[in-house]
Amino acid sequence: MTIQFNEKNCAITGIGQSPVGRKLGRSALDLTVEAALAAIADAGLKPSDIDGVATWPGANTNHPGMSPIGVFELKDALRLQLNWFSGGMEAAGQFGSIVNACAAIACGLATHVLCFRSLTESSAQTATRRASVSGSDGERVSGLGQWAVPFKAFSASIWTAQFAQRHFHEYGTTREQLGWIAVNQRRNAALNPKAVFRDPITIDDYLNARMIATPLCLLDCDVPVDAATVVIVSRMDAAKDLRKKPIRIESIGCAHHGRFSWDQHDDLTTQQALRDAAQMMWARTDLKPKDVDVAELYDGFSFICLNWLEELGFCGLGESGAFVEGGTRIALDGELPLNTHGGQLSAGRTHGFGFVHEACTQLWGEGDARQVKNNPQVAVAAAGGGVFGTSLLLTTD
């Protein structure tokens, strides 16, 4: 290659996660500090080694529990001495912090960047108030929300359902096919002691589940939790002598070329940000989809996972329904083990960071009962839906 893609000089060196659960009754900062100290120790570093912090979407008080703390609270709690930091929503989704960390490292602004995502959405949820529902505060709606909320399109579930409906219409995808995302992930979650939902479900359970927004039912929706997840991104030369074998960031996809909108995309069967991100990621590597040993793909709604499978090239456009049907190809022992921890549907809505955490868990061979066999060496972690999307190609080579 003539162009040097400098994310290849960045590596994940440690991961950490707090307990994941419903209404844990702990503060967001408490959970975040637990995950941060675990990740720093996992990398074999000390808090004083951390010279960068990044988070998405930054501290946000507008949506209860959605992002209760930002860079500054964590920095102060750990007395971090930072050369660089970044927090905020205007990035390519949940992995925007990791993209920013790589950019900062590649530019020499930091050496070990702590990236985190913390939520207390479960504790914040009440009978009348959920972080994921827009327009419930009685205020008039402005900005992008005004084009959806006055039409009672309060939630991303409705926006995503419309993409699914169009996909079903154009390609003949069925609920019987889509349901295998939920069934397969529950099967994986049964092997994950931290998963929120671990009781097995069948396709019949799925088909009989309460409808939320056609064609999506309750089992197509992820489950809000309280949790904090941390990954440490390090400069490769500073990563080599740490506790674990570094997981190199082979390539990043974070492009967004389409309209910033949930209803103005050219192709309503998919989500534009995912397509742009996936194409960018593959353009920055010699690896191909067939080289991927394990895929951890965002499933805030199960249908988004179908979109990622197609856009990342694991199957053709419109073929994801058949690809997942029967749940064998995507099983732990299948050709593309998918969402091996249970995904957000069963393991909890850690909001993207659960996928990169699990990809590293698998690449380090730490998956215990759910470990993919034959020493996986290449993983994709992808996060985001709608207008947000980032994919990461990770390798232990």
């Binding site: 827009s134 005004q146 359902a161 409906q165 939320i212 050219d266």
Partner: protein
Amino acid sequence: MGAAKDAGSIIHDPLLKADNILIRGADVQALPLPLPEITEDNRHFWTGGAEGKLQFQYCPQCDYYLHPPGPVCPKCYQRSLVVKAVSGKATLLTFSLNYQPWMPGLEVPYAVGIVEMAEQKGLRLTTNIVNCELDKIQIGMPVQVVFQQADDVYLPLFEPVRG
């Protein structure tokens, strides 16, 4: 009675009045349903229904309608935009029937859809499909605008083209 069950071309849904506060007991927060904030940029869109018009910003040089509104034509970058009414005829590109009661007092089910205006490929709105039995709603069906007034806002909803 929910919007989707009403007859007639102008629908008055009491739930959509911003001053209609729903009380469901002391432990439940009172919730008006949300309306858009009217600004100089969007007034033509949200209030055109008072005259029965669905209006968009339009660039005469490019023969191009903009949505959402903005201060510049994204094709030629000229700033000489005008407001222009469209026919109100559209095609339903996709939809979802919402069954989830997202907030107290919200009547379900109802239909959310994305329609594409007849005047221009890609000129799209998220809206509600009304005056139609929910199980009759189909992708590709021709629809036409109908306005629902709530305070100073005229929400452009869509119903099946009759006849």
